[in-house]
Symmetry: C2
Subunit: 229 residues, 2 copies
DNA sequence: TATAATAAATGTAAAAAATACATTTATTAT
DNA sequence: ATAATAAATGTATTTTTTACATTTATTATA
């Protein structure tokens, strides 16, 4: 790649800020331990150059699949990072994309194979270039978006309990919520369906599982419904 | 420029979706009547290639100044448009930026000189490439942003009346609001200051002028205040 | 088989915010 | 003095938000 460096030419990259919500009820960020130059042995987000024959969105789907095996993931454009001197090697603009994924064991294994790791958002290490800025900007964006879109569901398994959902909101908002009021509010949206099944991993009583009602959500969303918790 | 076309090379462009709010209380979009190829005589947004030595944001500031004479304008990145075939001439990705400006006579004159014109957002003509998509996407974004940030003020003169502000909100939301409730709500934010001056252009009684309190707004904004009207 | 332990689930009263709605007021032009 | 005009104002009702403590279902163990 070094042979092709050209500082009079724009390179276009994508960097993916991938968030997961682990069983320990903490928001996690996926970071990559670079095995090759440039920035060998440093930590970075997962990224790639955009190929001339693909869109930015294609490129981000491609690398997300490569690192997590996942397709059909919630991924949105954050913003473009384009300072002239942001990358010492190239004149490169990067389009950052944030993604929310459901972490499971398969993904954990694949991620490890790829030399990536999860780190807690309260304790993010130094990353290369402007990647820390990208992470901070996405955290703000997610907090904002959560206020009018129930994106939290993207981070949970298909079946989840209300206490888990609350823990996720608490992680995003970084504050405690009242369980009675939280439950009331979430149920009032009418977009989760109670299942005839309990998750007993966290208590003897067990907590009922729910699933997200995509259909109802879409209808409400289109009518401008406000999902603020 | 044609001489330099290279389909194996990324070009980076910015396109600015510039909104104004005119005396007739209608939201307007600034469009440009192209005098040169490509797309001579077609209508387009105001845009430019990003130079190798400038950031995307520098480029958008540069062209906004060129077309309106304005600096320090509210301008935010909308998103990147990067379909492989979006521009038949180049492999070009465009970073769209939306801007909100205060229209006045000086600007109107300059804009005309540059071959640009204002058109009502209810009646936007066919624009080149994917520019109509950009406009639609920004309108949605502005409506969304207005719900938690009082960006409306960016579109009004420094001194404005409450009825004018209401008309602006009505234009953005595309629905009528109750004048008593609107006034109550806006004043409850505590971010506008009543002046000892009236605007008598629209009534015999005259309406008091107000100005925006940037300081107070910043404090509230940082504490996560919700400015939804 | 009774009991202890655990987290899940539930209800209500009080306060705050949103809504719906009609009249008075200040000013200018006639 | 009067008519005309848009600006400004208040209140009662409904809805939403908030604060807060007890009961329930289940499992493990004594």
């Amino acid at each position: 790649m070094d042979l092709y460096r050209d500082k009079d030419k724009f390179y276009v990259a994508v960097d993916c800020i991938i968030f997961g919500f682990d069983d320990d009820e903490k928001l996690k960020l996926l970071v990559f331990n670079r095995k090759i130059d440039p920035f060998k042995k440093s930590l970075s987000l997962i990224g790639s150059f955009v190929q001339i024959g693909e869109s930015v969105s294609d490129a981000s789907i491609r690398i997300l699949k490569e690192f997590t095996g996942l397709q059909n993931v919630y991924m949105k454009e954050l913003k473009t990072y384009s300072s002239v001197d942001r990358d010492p090697g190239y004149r490169c603009i990067s389009v950052a994309q944030y993604a929310l994924i459901r972490v499971n064991d398969t993904i954990k294994t694949l991620v490890n194979q790829k030399g990536a790791q999860w780190c807690e958002i309260e304790d993010i290490p130094k990353l290369i270039l402007d990647h820390n800025e990208m992470v901070n900007d996405s955290l703000k964006r997610i907090e904002q978006i959560t206020k009018f879109k129930p994106i939290g569901f993207e981070l949970l398994p298909k079946k989840f309990t209300i206490p888990k959902l609350q823990a996720l909101y608490e992680a995003i908002y970084r504050r405690k919520l009242d369980p009675r009021n939280f439950r009331k509010k979430i149920l009032s949206f009418g977009v989760i369906i109670k299942l005839d099944e309990k998750d007993k991993t966290t208590s003897k009583k067990g907590a009922f599982l729910y699933k997200f009602d995509h259909k109802k959500y879409t209808i409400l969303q289109e009518s401008g419904y406000n999902f603020e918790v």
